[in-house]
């Protein structure tokens, strides 16, 4: 038919259409509720405002979700990221708390290296379980999800470990070029992952492993090695997110740090249009999903509803997004034929461009 209807259809069936609509509606609702919501002010050389806050607070979630995207793209899932956040944060805080001068940059860097190193080892453990021993990803990472919380509490001896280190605190609340440092860290990680996966063949290989690990192995891709790699990357992302979370509050709580972040991260990935079945991924969608979740959380806080009640809204969002994306559900409400066999409609669309 006419060009305009075709363009309209292309827009509404775009997989990021509904998440963007929800995000815009939520921002609009916030602005109606609190007229000053969208304003950003300059104070002491730093930018302040609700939008900046949302960006700063969503940084850890974006990091975790980036790693999760790659894992899910291979058809796996990583439930241990929350525990990994707690462990890496706890190790870094423990090391800093033992230093005579907590403000020394060298000490903080060593602490970060230690936390990251342990997280990489644990990520490798996940990778070995999934790629070498062949355990279902959800179960393999469940082990570390359960035991990891115990390990984090073991490291902090069940206490909330408080530190007083300027350089470490900067990771969470520091500023660079008038914007919070955390935003730049998340942005750098996103650009790095995007460059590595979209400017090289790695992204394609990951998608091919997620599509069919056996077939890609026969095609000459070392699918085991790729599977192993994504769990290590996910662990590294979780570790940095863990540093941010603990730096935000200048203390490590083995019990509460990163609690439920794995679920938020999976949510972000799903909202971003990446199918849990693997085979395709969209980094831009994941970042959008993470921003959406953080906006939702902030909105709920701003309306004086208790934090836990925000779960109620999250539940509604998850179900809505999943239903909209489910081919079976769409078929019931649109006159388009449901694909009886073959790939879901999503995969017929052109590949997502990554913001670079």
């Amino acid at each position: 038919m006419s060009n305009r209807t075709a363009a309209y259809r292309a827009l509404t069936t775009h997989r990021l259409f509904w998440p963007v609509v929800v995000l815009v509606v939520m921002l609009a609702a916030n602005t109606v509720y609190r007229p000053g919501f969208l304003s950003v002010q300059m104070r002491d050389g730093h930018l302040y405002g609700s939008l900046i806050d949302i960006l700063r607070l969503s940084a850890p979630l974006i990091l975790v979700a980036l790693g999760m995207t790659l894992v899910i793209a291979t058809g796996g899932i990583d439930l241990s990221v929350g525990s990994l956040c707690a462990i890496s944060g706890a190790i870094a805080c423990l090391y800093i708390s033992r230093q005579p001068d907590q403000n020394s940059v060298g000490g903080v860097l060593t602490a970060l290296a230690l936390g990251l190193g342990v997280a990489l080892v644990l990520g490798a453990w996940n990778g070995v379980l999934v790629a070498v021993i062949g355990i279902q990803p959800i179960i393999a990472t469940l082990i570390l999800m359960v035991a990891g919380r115990g390990l984090a509490q073991l490291i902090t001896e069940g206490q909330i470990l408080t530190i007083n280190s300027g350089p470490y605190k900067a990771i969470g609340v520091g500023h660079l070029l008038t914007l919070p440092l955390a935003i730049f860290l998340a942005l750098a990680a996103a650009l790095l992952v995007a460059a590595v996966t979209r400017r090289t063949a790695l992204g394609l290989i990951i998608e091919s492993v997620g599509g069919n690990a056996q077939a890609s192995r026969l095609a000459g891709i070392r699918s085991g090695r790729i599977t192993f790699l994504v769990y290590v990357i996910s662990a590294a992302c979780a570790a940095v997110a863990g540093f941010m979370m603990t730096a935000n509050v200048s203390s490590a709580d083995g019990n509460a740090a990163g609690l439920w972040v794995e679920l938020d991260a999976i949510l972000a990935v799903v909202i971003g249009g990446t199918s849990l079945a693997g085979g395709r991924f969209s980094l831009g969608g994941t970042i959008l999903g993470a921003l959406l979740i953080q906006t939702l959380t902030t909105t709920v806080y701003a309306m004086n509803i208790s934090p836990q009640t925000s779960l109620l809204f999250k539940a509604v969002v998850v179900i809505a997004v999943c239903l909209i994306q489910a081919p079976g559900f769409r078929a019931r409400f649109t006159r388009r034929r449901a694909p009886a066999t073959g790939p879901a409609p999503v995969s017929e669309q052109p590949k997502e461009q990554v913001p670079a």
Binding site: A140, V146, G158, A277
Partner: protein, 329 residues
Amino acid sequence: MTTLSLLAARTRSRLPRRHVPVLATLVLLLVLYGVGVSQYRAFSNIQVVFNVFIDNGFLLVVAVGMTFVILTGGIDLSVGSVVAMTAMVSAFLLREGLPAALVLLVALLIGPTLGFLMGCVIHFFDIQPFIVTLAGMFFARGMCTFISGSSIPITDGFWTRMSQQRIGNPSGNFVSISVLIAFAVVAVAAYTLAYTRLGRNVYAIGGNSQSALLMGLPVGRTRIAVYTISGLCAAIGGILLSFYTLSGAPLIGVGMELDVIAAVVIGGTVLTGGSGYVFGTVLGVLVLGVIQTLITFDGSLNSWWTKIVIGGLLFAFILLQRLIGIRYK
């Protein structure tokens, strides 16, 4: 000890491989109990065993429901939150002055309704159980805090009677009514899985849902049924928990779904579905309970060791399942 292991070795050769995980759990349980008895004199008191049941009765009921779901190859992450929501709703309605019988009815209806809805979404729209039950978990937990941000005590006469009633023998050992209810649930579930058409369908779907469909089994109905059963078990578990704590708290049972999944796996149910027993799940819950008791008896170990030990056991049993799985082929 040596005769026992000899006996085990001799019988194992005649046992089907699918019995090996359950047997391994049984041996583990006996070893753990043996360690307890050899280390602490008070451990041999039979009341210690009864206490394990009293403290974990609700967990047992929830794990039985989860066994059904995992046998079909699915997973239900919502159970911990449904337990909390059931306890919370009961406490709230009792405070509002509703009669105990009505409260019981309402509380027992919420879980299965939510389970039924989740089952429908999973089946009709073909969305992964993991993500649907995750939404269910968010929903139920959100409802808890929506009802009240703080804990609500229960002072109702029926509840306190159920909580304090002791059923025991003349020598002073006792169990609570919750334990009897839990045993009843276990018996019904074991019967259903072993001898009814529903039970056979559950195993068939877990073995291979495609073949089950081609054989003409009601795959959809069974799949929705297991999530409803899991919801019902979670609701019963919530009632038992409210008997145990005599209150409803919004954050109770956080992470319980993981304990439950761990118990089912340690009990020898294969996570891809199709193989496992309710009896194994009972053993799995007992293993978790005995570990907790051992750590309590020790005194010098902290509670986080429980999580680390459970994680280690989870690993060992999944590895065992995997090894047996390889030998199958």
